[in-house]
Symmetry: C2
Amino acid sequence: MSLEPVLARLDAELPAATERLLDLLRIPSVSTDPANKADCERAADWLVADLRSIGVAAEKRPTTGHPMVVGHVEGDGPHLLFYGHYDVQPVDPIDLWDRDPFDPQVQDTAAGPVIRGRGSSDDKGQLMTFVEACRAWKAEYGSLPCSITFFFEGEEESGSPSLIPFMKENADELKADIALICDTGLFDSTTPAIITMLRGMLGEELTIKAASRDLHSGMYGGVAANPIRVLSGIIAGLHDETGRVTVPGFYDGVPEMSNEIIAQWDDLKFDHTAFLNSVGLSEPSGETGRRPLEMIWSRPTCEVNGIWGGYTGDGFKTVLPADAHAKISFRLVGTQDPHKIRENFRAHVSAQLPPDVEVEFRGHGASPASQMSIEDPAFDKARQALSDEWPLPAAYVGCGGSIPIAGYFKSILGMDAMLVGFGKDDDQIHSPNEKYDVDSFHKGMRSWARILDALTR
Amino acid sequence: MSLEPVLARLDAELPAATERLLDLLRIPSVSTDPANKADCERAADWLVADLRSIGVAAEKRPTTGHPMVVGHVEGDGPHLLFYGHYDVQPVDPIDLWDRDPFDPQVQDTAAGPVIRGRGSSDDKGQLMTFVEACRAWKAEYGSLPCSITFFFEGEEESGSPSLIPFMKENADELKADIALICDTGLFDSTTPAIITMLRGMLGEELTIKAASRDLHSGMYGGVAANPIRVLSGIIAGLHDETGRVTVPGFYDGVPEMSNEIIAQWDDLKFDHTAFLNSVGLSEPSGETGRRPLEMIWSRPTCEVNGIWGGYTGDGFKTVLPADAHAKISFRLVGTQDPHKIRENFRAHVSAQLPPDVEVEFRGHGASPASQMSIEDPAFDKARQALSDEWPLPAAYVGCGGSIPIAGYFKSILGMDAMLVGFGKDDDQIHSPNEKYDVDSFHKGMRSWARILDALTR
């Protein structure tokens, strides 16, 4: 079977493929918000119907949270599993969006046309690049080039609580030769990338409590412990003056990169200035003496993702609140143990509390970092296929984000994962005005067609 | 004219007076929320009608914000001005209320019956104690005992932006021999109090900004400045390890209390333990070596009343927000200059900002502390009248709260203010489940009848 007709069909079908993606983007499948539960179901239904339309035996599979979508198609050659997620991030702050996040649109921009809307890049647009490549293959040759299992989840943006139980219960059904994951980015707009290192993630939510009720600051101010001040002190103390995290034992298992790896990364000529300037910044924050690319790919972090307490409305209210809250996440590398760090973090915070002040912790996701086995020849084949599609050769890179499923594929199903994606740094994922370049979408489909061809030769 | 029939009438009329107060409490006159603008108008209308029903020439007077209510009645003897406010605090967190804050009710408690609802103590219930005393006097004798100006504002809980302009424009109309203010508390449930020292207030709202948009913590975490961390560091640094405020020049104009005053306060046998225990605390926070009563009445403070930034909803979102916010207030004493402190605070914060981080300030109310001229014989007359009503003699006390109008009566209208109120520490003003003891309401009316009698003899 020749690849060229499939690529030609993907070019011709781009408008129709775009319409299909817009249709999926209209479903507000925000997994963290209970109000969107039915929307998550609708997104799963949409995917089941779409997979069936290209001959995949797909079905919605219940979990205690949002459903999985699993589909199979039999063929010759290797057995691939493709993973993506149909859930999306919340849209707040909604007033910073230029349009309804769930009324997506193709917009012309100076840098070319983009598909604007929540989930366009993370991850519905990316997921559909693979589905569209399969659709074109099926249309051209009547079948897919090999055995493929499609595996879509709906809880990736909320810590994937159902994922591990589901993978364990359905391990035999889900096992394949290699997992393909499309939830990452290009290295830059001309250089595709295959991720070989992924940071892990640990989420913690704190509630600091002092008095049994909100107090009047005229009556109790200066005398009663103020949970906002206690929380601020704890957060301010989580980093030392060199930007290192102060939680005891935090750096256990954090490797220094070899000179060889650092040299490879230097070869990529990453534009640190442009990276910062693109979001209105000029100087790297973080650990003294380390460059941004090194920090993002190979250093662990501790960040505060949300904070709230007291009166936050219009005007002023002189209240001392009874409690204050923060959401804190850690990005992990090497062999850092998320469970040990959670334990150390909680002990570290608890040890700092003044009299009468209590803390409650609520754990969110915990996943270790991953390192891919790039000795598998599939990696070099895919790298060549990507290099054929894009202006510059594909790079093996690290990734600052956390895609815990890559680790689960290895630990639960015993298979390697290959992460290839077409997002760009300016896609504004997790932010207002998320977009996906039409070019990412189009060349993404073509890239998957090339990879399918390369892996089945 | 004898006082006894007036007191007897107040006893008999208590149920009717309570119904009137409940009626006023049903109006959700939250002045800080633009959504309640019409409700503030309704509360003013209600008061105009009620004053007219007892023969006061009252009217609603427009301002650029919520209206004032001004009423006059002519008589012999001294000319008194009575001040109160008809606006109330916001009700959040609404889920901690046991009932609708604006569906007030008389409830039986172990400590006696209470009137439960937002504004019951602060300040509608207090305000009505004086009106009810006047109503009984009028019913008994056909007129009030002296010239009285009634002056109610609707912006006290939102910094009184219209108050100074209104007082200046209507200075001749508002001038009287002394101002009476009912917006404070008893010293304890058996000891009434006249406030002789009031702390001032300064409000500031900060917005810390870094990147031009929200960022993904996987991509930028550890590299981009995080406004929540910057804000937390600023807040954590506002106090030193002895609890003193670190803003340069903050303690300029803060007097040490004389041994005589400290001895007077000691005589009051304030139960510091009970004060803290009543709100679930056991140890004083704040300046090392100073006792709660001293801190509340005579020491300046800096407190954080609200903080927010990033993702604060259900679940988790690994965002680095573009901005973070806090509402910070200072309580001032002695001759601390609020404008100078505002300036120093802003310079102090600005000097701490790391590269790429900006701050925006929004000023809220600024008022200096007040000291009353208790040489005026009216103070001793009122003290005696209160001592006749309550189990224990009335005390001259300080007040931790800020009632800027007391200072304005002096600086703009040249008259002293006498602050007498019947609130209790457990009234939960500014908090969920605010209440006013029926006993406070009842003995409050009787106290004002006695004070009117004493001041006009």
